[in-house]
Symmetry: C2
Subunit: 172 residues, 2 copies
């Protein structure tokens, strides 16, 4: 019987239980997330989260790196895609929509002038980020449109990127 509620293989009971917890105790929703990064020489570093194996980072040779891993701005796009995938899986499951396949292509435009120190005070970050969502499902188009709207309105990484976030960077 427990398989019947595992639409999209999602443990929806855990999410429902968390929602109930937050409803009775709103402070449960205040979360803090952490990562730590260790520099490995040159443009290589590793990001560690909880007890998971560290994930490598490097730059392409064109940017002076050793080209051994995705670079930080590519990792950012990956984080957005992964966040959207969770959003579709969670909200589709809550809406009774079965997902057959889900693939997200992301890209972003970035002008290197500021990063390279060739202009002062400019924007070193992405100017524009695009995500193309390939969602296969037998659900009717209006249900999919509703799902899509919900995912966009509730995406933690999507909102972090589209809003200005106070970022404090301090020497310890």
């Amino acid at each position: 019987m427990s398989n019947a509620v595992k639409l999209n293989n999602v443990q929806i009971e855990s999410v429902v239980s968390l929602i109930q917890k937050v409803q009775s105790k709103p402070e449960v929703a205040k979360t803090n997330w952490k990562a730590s990064v260790q520099w490995k020489g040159a443009f290589q570093s590793e990001a560690k989260v909880r007890d998971f194996a560290p994930v490598k980072s490097d730059e392409p040779t064109s940017l002076g790196g050793g080209d051994s891993a995705a670079n930080p701005v590519e990792q950012l796009l990956g984080a957005l895609g992964n966040c959207l995938a969770v959003g579709y899986a969670a909200n589709a499951t809550a809406a009774g929509i079965a997902i057959k396949d889900l693939r997200i292509e992301l890209d972003g435009d970035l002008n290197l002038h500021t990063f390279l120190g060739l202009r002062e005070g400019g924007n070193a970050g992405y100017e524009k980020i695009r995500a193309k969502v390939h969602l296969e499902s037998d659900a009717p188009a209006d249900k999919i449109a509703e799902l899509h709207k919900k995912v966009i309105g509730t995406s933690p990484v999507g909102h972090t990127l589209s809003r200005p976030v106070p970022v404090s960077i301090e020497l310890a």
Copy 2:
């Protein structure tokens, strides 16, 4: 002799050569970065960048996931730390500063109300992100302070997070 210019193990010639290219042909600085994400069922997915092995994503059990990898908001913090590491390595090398060790601790506050659909139109993203930089170097304090200021002013991921970026998310 080539070791002499490889301070911090950085291939500074590649960066200098890129700067020269951009100075003579500004459009070289206009870059586009890509990633693609494949949903793997439940809250699991994989982000792929160029030809590198896919990097896994999942949610903790408290959020209904299988707890098999860092989640997207943790990945975002990792991307920021990796970006800062490149920034310190590049700018320290350009300034003739040797880095003995560099470690960055990151954390961020996120309220789950919007993500869980418990409030409409709210912010699902980070409210605040902090990075603590542990930099070991024999360089004088004023040189380190200057380096730090430069890194903050030129960080692609730092700027992406601290500014509002137009993010378009569309069903293909």
